[in-house]
């Protein structure tokens, strides 16, 4: 993670407009995220959570406005792992693309509880285990901004606990997090962006 001065925002959105299917979902969204900050995006289905996160992660371009972000780690609904690769190979490949030299694979796999699965094929993993694998990639990526789309999906309680732990470590180390969450998942101490509600 590169050292960023504390006052410098890690992620800065200015008058973003998000469109989907030729229709404007969100307009004029402006906010900054600094080291240690967390922003939770909430709202009902179809309000544009995923569209917004894809823009924040740099996957899609905003319809208008500007976005500046330092290195981004993105966790989407789909994880981008190939069924036929082994767990270790899949991680290695993504680390190579992210230019991570000598990634601590075993360490991180142990951290997400997949230590004994490193030679398994990805298709032999359950949905929850695949999610853990995606979290392992996120940890290896060492990005300062985490953009997470419903990160708790498919995880069991142990998985949720380790993810919450990872959030704390990440923020303490000077990172920041934007994540979309369902209404029924409580998350304390974070800024919130509620989509689908009239401005207060």
């Amino acid at each position: 993670m590169q050292a960023t001065p504390l006052d410098q925002p890690l992620l800065s959105a200015k008058t973003l407009r998000i469109d989907r299917g030729g229709r404007t979902l969100i307009e004029g969204l402006t906010f900054d995220l600094r080291a240690g900050e967390q922003l939770v995006v909430r709202g009902p289905n179809g309000c544009g959570k995923t569209s917004l996160l894809r823009v924040l992660a740099g996957v899609a371009a905003p319809a208008a406005g500007t976005l500046t972000a330092t290195s981004v780690g993105y966790l989407g609904h789909r994880d981008g792992f190939k069924d036929t690769a082994s767990v270790a190979c899949a991680l290695k490949q993504w680390c190579a693309l992210a230019r991570q030299q000598n990634p601590a694979l075993d360490e991180v796999l142990a951290q997400v509880g997949l230590a004994d699965r490193s030679l398994f094929l990805v298709r032999a993993l359950s949905a929850g285990q695949r999610r853990r694998l995606a979290i392992a990639r996120l940890l290896l990526r060492k990005a300062s901004v985490w953009v997470l789309d419903e990160p708790f999906n498919a995880l069991d309680s142990a998985g949720r606990a380790l993810l919450t732990q990872a959030f704390e470590t990440h923020c303490a180390a000077g990172g920041c997090i934007v994540m979309a969450l369902h209404e029924d998942i409580a998350f304390d101490g974070a800024k919130t962006l509620s989509l689908g509600e009239a401005a207060a």
Binding site: A60, S71, G80, Q93, L97
Partner: protein, 212 residues
Amino acid sequence: MSLVWRDIAVLSQGGRALALSCFFLVLAASLFPFAVGPDTKLLSAIAPGVHWLLALFLAVLHGERIFVEDEQDGSLEQLRALGFAEGSLMFSRIVAHWVIAFAPQIALTVVVDIFLGAGLASAGQHMLSLLIGTPALSCLAVLAAALTLGARQSSLLMIVIVFPLMIPPLIFGVSAAADSGSAALMLLGASSLISLVIAPLAGHFALKAALK
């Protein structure tokens, strides 16, 4: 560079895609004697055209799936989040497409020529024309794949849009394969160079729209 290796590794599907290219070439080339008769004079006369038609089909055969799987499983999203620009995604896939579709074809030129009764002397000329001209086909195929990503009946659509665009390289390629020392080879090289500029540029806009 790591992106190019990754794309070659993923798209070659552990070498199966390369094997598909080889089998397709040998099988399709062996159909021509059945189609036009086993007259080696006629077969060797149409050999340049056969090579280039096979190249067009190979381009489309591998072009169809060049983005689809990575788009569906989320790899394309991850690559964008890692900061790879649309243009470099295009470029690395053009290279990967060429390696998978046309490296085997260039290697097997001699085999196809033997099937068609064309001499080994002409095989060199055929190989040269394929070497210089097939990058243009890869560019156009990958561009068409980017444009049709997520479309209904995308493989049919891809054929409809890509074959007309491939006519100039086809014309120049067949001429260059048939006749050494003509202007065709230069024109063929020029169309490859132009395609290498246009395809990443147009693909940039196409992918941007596809990833909305």
